[in-house]
Amino acid sequence: MNGSVCDRIRDRIPDHVAGRLAPGDAAEVARHLEGCGECRAESDLVALLFEGRPEAPRGLVGNVVAASRLRGATRHPWWGLAAAAVAALALGIGMSSRSPDPALDVPVYVSEADDREPLWLSDDGLIAGAPALEGLSEEDLMLLLQEMTVGGAA
């Protein structure tokens, strides 16, 4: 097992298994797997996981499209919402009495994680064996990853 080469290959294993790599990259990964038992074992596991991935139920697309058409009539473009807000203010209607619009439960700044509400109710750190990662620096994360790679996966 060659650490740096294996690290690079392991990053690509999921894409290799799923056929998402360019031919040249796929050949490189395949060559490495032939000679590296550790990476091959990981590739076998990833292949099993990929093989067993669940399919979406038939009819899901049609149901979603039908539901969106059904609810489409109630969708307000931004100018519609603005007009409604102005009208509500003009009439002295308190906006706070409205029930929350489910459409507002969508992230606006997905790329800025700090601005979002937490996605997860459970704390993985409370589960045995799951490290609490959020407070760690990138350096600490890389050290942890290195420890798992060198000492754990063998």
Binding site: L45, A56, P102, G129
Partner: protein
């Protein structure tokens, strides 16, 4: 009709479809549904652990995305935006449900001798089912990191956006999950 719609938009990016959807183009939104429904369903299933509930959560996620397209500003990839909505929708649905079915390892197809001469394909299918059942036992962030990387091909940066972690934390979650699965399968 759905197939024709899919072909029509084949070379159009998600972001362009989203922009058209913002302008009220229903066909563009339908193309996004066709493109991402399987991924959305799998992410929802990973969180709620129930196929029926996952289907409801997937539908809810798409409807929320449809109604919230105006909030998509293109600062992140549409797919990660949609999957973040999906995770929120699935978690909300799980909270609302008073009695949820627990997916236990023993609910997976048992690994038994497949008969006198089981085909290799059947054995692989059984092993794959066991691996997926074990995947469901991982802590949430590890599970989603493995699933999004293996099934959907998301980068660690994208995974971090979806699960609310840094790129480095997503990478550690992935490899920690893979490491534990290998231990369990030994």
């Amino acid at each position: 009709m759905l197939v024709r719609n899919s072909e029509r938009w084949a070379s159009t990016t998600d972001e362009e479809l989203a922009r058209r959807g913002q302008d009220g183009d229903e066909a563009a939104f339908e193309a996004l549904v066709q493109r991402h429904h399987a991924t959305v369903y799998r992410v929802a299933l990973s969180i709620v652990s129930d196929p029926d509930l996952a289907q409801d959560a997937a539908q809810e996620a798409f409807l929320k995305a449809y109604r919230g397209l105006g909030g998509f500003r293109g600062e992140a990839a549409f797919r990660t935006w949609l999957l973040t909505i999906t995770a929120n929708a699935a978690r909300s649905m799980l909270r609302r449900r008073t009695r949820r079915k627990e997916t236990e390892l023993d609910q997976a197809p048992p690994v038994v001798s497949g008969g006198p001469d089981p085909s290799e394909q059947a054995v692989v299918a059984q092993e794959a089912a066991v691996a997926r059942a074990l995947l469901a036992k991982l802590p949430e962030k590890q599970r989603l990191s493995v699933q999004l990387r293996v099934d959907e091909g998301l980068s660690f940066r994208e995974i971090g956006e979806v699960i609310g972690s840094s790129e480095g934390a997503a990478r550690v979650n992935y490899f920690h999950g893979i490491h534990r699965l290998r231990e369990w399968l030994r």
